[in-house]
């Protein structure tokens, strides 16, 4: 186990910088999620940490040592790929043993470690099968066992859940997180899915355009976004942002409620004309337009069950809505967070 530190990592493909100066400090044992849209550079950055790509400039330190020139096997990292990257022509046992064989660990040691890893992940009965005979969940566990077996400095995961269907994703998420907590491995997890990020990460680094927009705990990212991008990327439906006075003001849909639900707090009032509503069972999403702002900007409100009954908020009518002052977020002209003006 080791801490991972990057200083100003830049990676250019030709003239285009895919990674544009990322500095991150990931302490030993932390589950760090790299969250961002497709093409933002998060996967390239991960591959640089792994050693599959070479950075154009910047330093990478693992366990306090500079590893810029070293190939992956000398860095001691383990990686889990999107399709798990299991060796189709080897049995599960040989898949897990492979990293040890390349390090020329003695046979007896190998057998012990394979036992231990397969025991930890509950796949002992699968040891003599081939990958193609396994289910998706079983393959994931084999990939984890293989990653674990050499006691790596860090575990890197590249969108491992994107090939699973929605149902499996939730349980797979839990398994990975539980596994990491039990083993205490420094983990760097790349995803574009903010639900995964919020659910699994100790800290999240939101990345866009090759740069880190914000690093923080899920709570910090959600409640205290550093700029418009982070504010609108995390959260479903995304935060409402209304332009005003050169800057912008934002509030989350679940904080945008009918005025009669405000209990004696300081709040800002908005006149809200409902255009459309979606009934989702546990909540109702309402779309409309707020008076006094650009009529093309659609504003969403997430209404709790109490107001689920459609009759209470009728489309086409104006309703008084409000947001608690404490829930308002202000942004300046560049899109960064500003204090209330």
């Amino acid at each position: 186990m080791a801490a991972v530190l990057t200083r100003d990592i830049v990676k250019k493909f030709g003239e285009v910088p895919a990674v544009n100066g990322i500095s991150l400090n990931i302490p030993d044992g932390e589950f760090m999620v790299l969250l961002g849209p497709s093409g933002c550079g998060k996967t390239t950055y991960l591959r640089i940490i792994c050693g599959l790509e070479q950075q154009t400039s910047g330093d990478l330190l693992i366990g306090g040592n500079i590893v810029n020139e070293l190939p992956p096997r000398a860095r001691g990292v383990a990686m889990m790929f999107q399709s798990y990257g299991l060796y189709p022509h080897y049995t599960v046992r040989n898949n897990i043993a492979f990293p040890l064989k390349t390090q020329r660990v003695p046979r007896v040691e190998i057998d012990k470690k394979v036992e231990w890893a397969s025991q930890l992940l509950g796949i002992k009965r699968l040891l003599d099968r081939k990958p193609r005979e396994l289910s998706g969940g079983e393959r994931q566990r084999v990939a984890l066992a293989r990653a674990l077996v050499r006691e790596p400095t860090a575990l890197l995961l590249d969108e491992p859940l994107s090939n699973l269907d929605a149902k499996l994703r939730a349980s797979a998420r839990l398994e990975i997180k539980a596994f990491q907590q039990r083993v205490g491995l420094t983990t760097i997890y790349v995803t574009h899915d903010q639900v995964e990020a919020m659910g699994m990460g100790d800290r999240i680094a939101v990345i866009d355009g090759g740069r880190v927009r914000q690093v923080g705990t899920p709570t910090e990212i959600y409640d205290d976004p550093a700029d418009r991008f982070v504010a609108t990327f995390v959260g479903t439906p995304p935060m409402n942002i209304l332009d005003q006075n050169g800057g912008a003001v934002g509030f989350r849909p679940e904080n945008f409620l009918p005025k009669d639900m405000m209990e004696d707090q300081s709040f800002a009032e908005f006149n809200f004309r409902v255009d459309r509503s979606e009934y989702l069972g546990s909540e109702r999403i309402v779309y409309g337009v707020v008076e006094g702002f650009d009529p093309k900007q659609i504003v969403t409100a997430k209404l709790p069950p109490a107001h689920v009954d459609e009759a209470s908020i009728r489309p086409g009518e104006w309703h008084p809505f409000a947001v608690r002052n404490a829930a308002l977020r202000y942004f300046d002209a560049d899109g960064n967070r500003a204090s209330r003006h």
């Binding site: 990686m79 798990y84 022509h89």
Partner: protein
């Protein structure tokens, strides 16, 4: 009973008629080859006989003559040796080259790959003149080993291109996982890429072998000694005594020499096509 329209019947009939036409067109010469090799000379060289079937009972005379009185078995052996050695040389050269070109992304890899492939299109009828001098310099004139030296000039480009297609369609994840797990690049090539591309390698081996069997121009140019000839050259040019063509024997020899190639092509056609389209049509 369902209504069978006249139009449908006509369509079906013309369809099958067309199929029969194509089959006859393609296969008749081989039927002719087949039946000639089993007909007695008396039957063959008689203009009044109906040529499409046996008039005298079929005979194995031509085959016997072929194997006993000609150098046919020597030619078979020559072709076998040439095929095996050339295939080995080709695999050892083309396999790493194809892998390197398939994994080397970017302009350089592409350009080099296409460049290598274009050398396959350089015609033997252009190169045979200078090559005959090179062969003479090497002291290999009139020997079948001259062909072993020259054949890789077209088998290597062709196989590199074919294998490139196969390697490109292999996902990189497995080699990358091996590298992360501790292999060197070379180790990943040997332990992952090669075992997983065995179907592709097999196809390449078969096609290389058939390429060497089919070749005629270089064989004709470099080899005149009868006992050094590969099988195709031997059958086509050496079964003539004086001015007389021994058609029965020629057809028998052609038949034997054609069968393995035809079988190989049929079995591996689908793989071959995916190899071509994988590489050519991106």
């Amino acid at each position: 009973m369902a209504r069978i329209t006249a139009k449908a019947v006509a369509q079906e009939t013309s369809f099958y008629a067309a199929v029969v036409f194509f089959v006859v067109l393609a296969a008749f010469p081989f039927y002719w080859m087949l039946i000639t090799s089993f007909k007695t000379n008396g039957d063959l060289y008689n203009v009044t006989n109906i040529p499409f079937w046996f008039n005298d009972p079929p005979t194995l005379d031509h085959f016997r003559y072929l194997f006993e009185k000609t150098l046919f078995t020597t030619w078979l052996l020559n072709s076998l040796i040439i095929g095996v050695v050339v295939t080995l040389i080709t695999l050892v050269t083309a396999l790493p080259a194809a892998y390197s070109l398939a994994r080397m992304t970017g302009r350089n890899g592409e350009a080099l790959g296409i460049g290598i492939f274009l050398t396959y299109l350089v015609p033997p009828t252009l190169l045979f003149l200078p090559l005959s001098r090179v062969i003479a310099m090497l002291g290999l004139q009139n020997s079948m080993w001259s062909l072993v030296v020259v054949y890789p000039t077209f088998t290597i480009p062709f196989c590199t291109w074919l294998l490139m297609g196969f390697f490109k369609s292999m996902p990189r994840e497995i080699e990358e996982a091996a590298i992360v797990d501790g292999c060197s690049l070379f180790g990943a090539f040997v332990k992952m890429a090669i075992p997983l591309s065995v179907p592709g390698i097999l196809t390449t081996v078969i096609f290389t072998f058939t390429l060497t069997l089919q070749e005629f121009v270089y064989a004709l140019t470099f080899v005149s000694a009868s006992d050094q000839k590969p099988i195709t050259l031997g059958v086509a040019t050496d079964l003539i005594r004086g001015d007389v063509f021994y058609w029965g024997e020629i057809m028998a020899g052609a038949l034997i020499a054609s069968i393995p190639v035809a079988i190989a092509y049929n079995l591996f056609l689908d793989r071959f096509i995916s190899g071509i389209t994988g590489g050519a049509v991106k």
